[in-house]
């Protein structure tokens, strides 16, 4: 009797079903599962870049937990005797360095874990940058996603902080040099610099506090903040729904794609294992940060090729490019180290300000308050694309300048000349890159226009009875046309006049005027999408294109062949 009722009400019979039912009756989790399993995600490889960062972070957490089991962030001095390299035996070093050697050579799998952790850190930052590039160039930061862009940029900075604090933990010569530069940068801040340096290092550099402090920052503070912000980042992503690339049937009001379950779960799961596999492969085959090569920290030596990890290389380059002579001023007995302040504080400050402010500036000069869920093709917003490329150019030039010694040795060039070339390029390069990119974008837009109006070239040349030759064009299909005509070519802002109807000066006119000027910079040069009227006009005058080859016409299939094949 009771079994019959159970089957009638559709109660689960399998063990898995029963367990799920048990859970659902107590947590109502079924609602969430139903919601998420049916959630639709649009499909594109570039939407997996953020996933790559997320999965690298998971690998960082897993390998990092392993490392904390064996690492000892103590500055106590010890004499090393262990399974490490011959060249380290009997040397005096901090316990932090010795435990790094121990976990690399005495702990089973320790070196593998350390290398996976470090490679994962480099890849984590790299995938964040690539993900940001995708978001920037496709305009995915527009309303309603501005806040999520800010969250992402804060995540980037936290990633830098995590990398920097972790890199310094082994207390080796190389990372010690990095800390020394940090100390110099902090001290270059006017008035409060020296006090801040004493606060950070707990006294004069290097002191005995910095490694334990960095350890706490690295394993507790920063990862907790990153986790919380990743949660917020993903929550906002789900809330806003994912953006999609333009295409037939895709609008700001729908999402075209596959449901999370099973398609996306399979894809995401697969991608996780691929990311983990690649990082494990790198950790197993490629050595990274062999601290025993550099030796335990000692404030006196500096090795050739002393550089930070790649994501900090732009700061190193900025410092290397700054001329030293004449840039350190003494004012009333106080030193103003512009030679450090400008490259290490002002330049990165400008770069990050650009990242934080850009979505709001663009929204303001566009005067656009609508929500956007369909992405822009980069060509359709030429100035944004140009600014992005200019930003990347500046970043890459600084990173290369930070590697100037290796460029000199590997390409047999003069270090001094390279430095001068980069000094000039840092100012000229971004401007040039902006100009070239903007022009390329405009040309691509014109090409799209041309294509929409006239169709594809077919290579079919037709001769009429009167001797006229034409090439037959094949019109675009609907999907192709949709992609090329559905975009907004924004116009510069129009502002209210300086005085109102009664001739009274309007408040805020000057500010409006400035924004209008910026808006002109953005949208003065533009290529409008083809309108239906233009399309119709193009078709009517091009009607003869569609004449089928008849008996009185002769057809030539290859462009160069002019022989009349009709006999």
């Amino acid at each position: 009797m009771s079994t019959e009722t159970a089957s009638n009400t559709g109660a689960p019979t399998t063990p898995v079903g029963k367990a799920a039912d048990y859970l659902d009756q107590r947590t109502s989790i079924g609602v969430a599962v139903k919601e998420f399993a049916r959630k639709v995600f649009p499909d594109h490889w570039s939407f997996m870049l953020g996933e790559m960062a997320l999965f690298s972070f998971v690998v960082l957490l897993l390998s990092g937990v392993f490392l904390t089991m064996f690492f000892d962030p103590s500055m106590a001095l010890v004499e090393y005797h262990g399974a490490g390299p011959e060249t380290m035996q009997g040397q005096l070093m901090s316990t932090a360095f010795a435990s790094t050697l121990d976990l690399s050579f005495d702990v089973r799998g320790g070196l593998l874990m350390r290398q996976i952790h470090h490679w994962a850190a480099l890849v984590f930052m790299a995938s964040i940058v690539v993900h940001m590039m995708r978001v920037f160039f496709t305009g995915a930061f527009r309303k309603p996603r501005e806040i999520n862009w800010l969250v992402g940029t804060v995540l980037l900075i936290l990633g830098l902080l995590a990398g920097f604090s972790g890199y310094s933990l082994p207390d080796d010569v190389l990372s010690g040099n990095g800390l020394r530069i940090t100390d110099g940068v902090i001290k270059s801040i006017p008035v409060i610099g020296s006090y801040m340096s004493y606060m950070v290092f707990g006294g004069e550099f290097p002191g005995e506090h910095i490694i334990p402090r960095l350890f706490t920052i690295h394993i507790l503070l920063v990862p907790a903040l990153i986790l919380a912000l990743i949660g917020l980042h993903l929550f906002l992503m789900v809330l806003h729904k994912h953006t999609q690339y333009p295409g037939g049937g895709r609008t700001d009001k729908n999402v075209v794609g596959y449901p999370l379950f099973p398609v996306y779960v399979a894809k995401m799961g697969g991608n996780f294992f691929i990311v983990f596999g690649i990082l494990a492969l790198m950790g197993a085959t490629m050595s990274i940060n062999n601290v025993w090569n550099y030796g335990p920290y000692d404030p006196s030596p500096v090795g050739a090729g002393a550089q930070p990890d790649w994501y900090m290389l732009f700061l190193e380059g900025s410092l290397r490019l700054m001329p030293g002579a004449g840039t350190e001023w003494v004012i009333f007995g106080y030193t103003l180290s512009l030679n450090v302040l400008i490259p290490a504080v002002v330049i990165p400050g400008l770069l990050f300000t650009f990242l934080f402010a850009y979505p709001f500036i663009e929204a303001k000069v566009t005067g656009d308050k609508r929500e956007h869920h369909v992405l822009d093709r980069p060509r359709n917003v030429p100035v944004r694309t140009g600014l992005g490329v200019a930003f990347l150019t500046a970043f890459i030039i600084l990173a290369l300048a930070g590697s100037n010694d290796l460029i000199a040795t590997h390409f047999a060039m003069s270090l001094n000349q390279i430095t001068w070339a980069f000094r000039i390029l840092f100012f000229v390069g971004p401007v040039f890159a902006f100009w070239v990119t903007k022009r390329i974008c405009l040309s691509l837009q014109r090409k799209d226009r041309e294509l929409v109006l006239h169709g594809h070239e077919t290579g079919r040349i037709v001769r009429f009875a009167n001797g006229e030759y034409i090439e037959v064009h094949r019109p675009l299909d609907e999907q192709e046309r949709w992609l090329r005509v559905n975009y907004d070519a924004h116009r510069p802002l129009e502002i209210e006049p300086a005085t109102d109807a009664r001739g009274v000066k309007r408040r805020g006119y000057k500010s409006d005027k400035r924004w209008q000027k910026l808006s002109r910079f953005f949208y003065e040069d533009r290529v409008e999408p083809v309108t239906p009227a233009e399309l119709a006009a193009a078709h009517s005058h091009g009607e003869h294109d569609e004449i089928a080859p008849a008996a009185h016409t002769s057809e030539v299939t290859s462009g160069t062949d002019t022989v009349d094949r009709e006999r």
Partner: protein, 285 residues
């Protein structure tokens, strides 16, 4: 009348023989001829071919084999007049082109000549290593002549440069403080100003390492026996010999530090991952 067959067992060819491998290959080639990447592939092949042919046919340097004579100094002077005097002067007292060799010692001559740096081939930021021009005997004769001009560092004995007898750990300390700022922490080399550089030390012989420290060739400072004692020099040699086997952890990536690591993180890490993402993304559409 058909001519008689030459091969008794030569069957007439079947009319419809199956396509041979070559045919398939040729057809495939013909089909891909217009592929977008074809010019690039062709260009790469042409470059490879040119490079390969050059490598095979490039003129190899001539080797001299002169017989030795009894008096090394005398013979050394003759070699000096023939090969070195143009720049270093007829009495080895130097000119505006090159320094005086009085008092540089046999070690300096042995270092410069046995590594091919001298006689110098062309002016540049610094004299480059190249295949040696003087054989061992001639080098010894030149060294004997220059040593006779004034006292200087002598060529070290085999025992003085024996890495087995050195303490690599102490060598690491000395190297880190005195050498790593130019030569990199493990001797992978580094840049100096105006196109000069500190060379990589992996392939430098133990004797030459010692001589370089004792004589300070080109931009390198002299580390005399008061600064770094002969025993300590041997420790440095032991440290450098230790580096020849590479380091734990897999491929060394040039031991160049974070820049090369970052480069490989982008190329291998991001390269593979983006490739995989494109693959996953492509499957559905």
């Amino acid at each position: 009348m058909t001519p008689p067959r030459v091969g008794a067992d030569a069957d007439p060819e079947p009319l419809h023989h199956p396509p041979r491998d070559e045919d398939i290959f040729v057809k495939a080639l013909a089909a891909r001829r217009h592929h977008r990447a074809a010019p690039v592939v062709l260009m790469l092949l042409a470059l490879l071919l040119t490079g390969g042919v050059y490598a095979v046919l490039a003129p190899s340097s001539a080797t001299a084999d002169t017989a030795s004579t009894a008096n090394d100094v005398e013979e050394g002077e003759r070699l000096f007049q023939a090969n070195c005097a143009t720049c270093h002067g007829p009495d080895a007292e130097g000119t505006s082109e090159a320094p005086s060799l009085v008092g540089v010692g046999a070690a300096a001559v042995d270092f410069q000549v046995s590594t091919g740096r001298m006689p110098m081939q062309a002016n540049g930021p610094q004299a480059l290593q190249k295949p040696r021009q003087m054989d061992e005997e001639q080098t010894a004769q030149l060294a004997a002549y220059v040593a006779s001009l004034g006292p200087g560092p002598e060529i070290p004995t085999d025992e003085m440069v024996d890495a087995e007898a050195g303490d690599a750990s102490n060598g690491a300390l000395i190297f880190r403080t005195n050498c790593a700022m130019c030569h990199n922490a493990v001797g992978a080399g580094g840049a100096l100003s105006e196109g000069k550089f500190a060379p990589a030390l992996y392939d430098v012989s133990e004797r030459n390492i010692y001589q370089a420290m004792a004589t300070g060739p080109q931009s390198m400072p002299v580390f005399n026996d008061a600064t770094i004692t002969p025993d300590e020099k041997r420790d440095v040699i032991a440290y450098l010999v230790e580096q020849r086997d590479g380091s734990a952890g897999g491929l060394s990536l040039g031991s160049l530090g974070p820049v090369s690591e970052g480069l490989w993180a982008w190329v291998v890490g991001l390269g593979l991952m983006i490739g995989a993402a494109v693959w996953i993304g492509a499957k559905s559409s």
